[in-house]
Amino acid sequence: MLEFLLALLTTATVGALLMPLVRGRTAATHRSSGRFEGELAIYRDQLAEIERERAGGALSESEAAAARLEIERRILAADAAAKTPTASSDTLHRLLPPALALAIPLLALGLYLKVGHPGLPAAPFIAGTKPPAEQPMDIAQLVAQARARVAAEPNSADAQSALGEALTLEADGTVPPGALEAFNKAITLQPGDARSLYYLGLHEAQAGDSAAALKRWQELEAKSPPNAPFLPMLRAEMARVAQAAGLPAGATMPQLSRDQQEAMAALTPEQRQQAIRGMVEGLAARMKENPQDRGGWLRLANAWKVLGESANAVDAYAKADALAPVDARLLADWAEAHVRGLKPGEAPSPAAVAVLERLEKAEPRNGLALFYLGAASFAAGDKAAAARRWKTLLALLPADAPIRAMLEERIKAADSP
């Protein structure tokens, strides 16, 4: 119906514009002789009037002559115009109607496709009408059922996340504190629970941390089976949040395309390792050309660390640190890369000690720093410092930690004179 009306309106518009043009053209062929006769009659009258006024003395001889001359010139000009066909405007006249007939509907259609919403369902006449009365009842029922299920199975992640979802529905799509609590419980019960991960991300987006939301959702997307039913919805939501926050949807993590992911899945573990190494080496080469990209160095460091190339990872961390000092969490990663290659009992290198000392300063109770700095102190002959660090560490360890025995042995050695 609407399409029909739109077509009708367009036709009317084009018609209104074409009518005078087409009519003008057919009239033009008859015009020359007929119109000139009319003009001539007027000029004749004017000449007669001048003659009358001259005779009556209203015009002097010279004034009358000038006026007559002007009219005579006009008669000649009108005659000339009637005789020469209007050649200059002919091409324009021929081309204008079809051009307009084409251009107007095209322009209108283009504009409509750009700003219109052809797929939009008809809106109810009164805006803001309440949904049918039974709907609030349903949600209240849903919440009650979800609560009952949580009471019956307190350790079911699914029950918890279902409650969270019901509470979110009840709050018109905003994740309320009660739902947040339920989702967090579900996550501790089952770390990969997709529904909870989705809603925790939604909460982050609503609370103004869209970057965290997108990161969480990207991880969820990567972990989900490719045929998971919620993936289209998740991707749409990611696009929406990214757009609203002005972030590129895939910026926080280098993402493989769908094809690349499928190609990866088809490889043997050795081939996959080889492919990953190739990608990391590519990143390393790019970093050589663009050494000011601190984020790039950190990504590279992490990649080398995952591949077990500790020395390369240590270098990359140092490069990033030189651009801007790294925080405590990265210091821990960096220190770990430093000490991973050590044999049991071997003391860390001076470079490793420097990183470990920074880590200890940032986090005085960091186990890694306490253990290896203790070893460094012991190797340097400072037995008291070694014993102090190891004792601090021992106090932090749980009673059943497997390295307690080894640590106690070492403390004994440090305490002996």
């Binding site: 001539l40 005579e72 000649l76």
Partner: protein, 150 residues
């Protein structure tokens, strides 16, 4: 015929329905009249182009009440307008004040008229100022005679 005339007059002089509720009105008819006059000149800030007297919006109702409260407290009309401008800016006045920011608003239309008028004047003047025409040549006189048929 008479009935048609009455109907016609009634439609011609019909006023837009006011949103002012009888319960809002002041007891003093003089004060209420002033409140109406002010209300007609104040813009409802959430409506596109309605006065607060014409609008049923919540804010418009509050503004009407504020106008009446100010008047009852003894404010002059100007003081009531100042009260509203202090809170909502010049936007609240349906007739904007004449100042730098509203210059285009006030002078735009007259300026356009002036430009158009001077364009017409100039063309007319130019036509009058054209040089005297050269007399007709013999050949032209001949053509003219044949055209006029004499």
């Amino acid at each position: 015929m008479k009935r048609v005339l009455v109907l016609l007059l009634a439609t011609l002089f019909a006023l837009p329905a006011l949103a002012v509720d009888p319960s809002e009105m002041l007891k003093d008819p003089a004060l209420e009249a002033r409140a109406r006059e002010i209300g007609q000149a104040l813009r409802c800030v959430v409506c596109q182009n309605q006065s607060i007297d014409d609008s049923a919006a919540e804010v418009a109702r509050d503004m009407r009440r504020a106008v009446r409260e100010r008047l009852t407290a003894g404010d002059s009309d100007a003081q009531v307008f100042d009260f509203m401008v202090a809170r909502y800016g010049d936007y609240v006045l349906l007739k904007p004040p004449f100042k730098l920011g509203t210059l285009v608003l006030w002078l735009g239309a007259p300026l356009l008229l002036l430009i158009a008028a001077s364009a017409i004047m100039l063309t007319a003047l130019r036509r009058r100022a054209t040089a005297p025409l050269p007399p007709l040549s013999d050949e032209e006189r001949e053509r003219l005679r044949s055209l006029l048929g004499r």
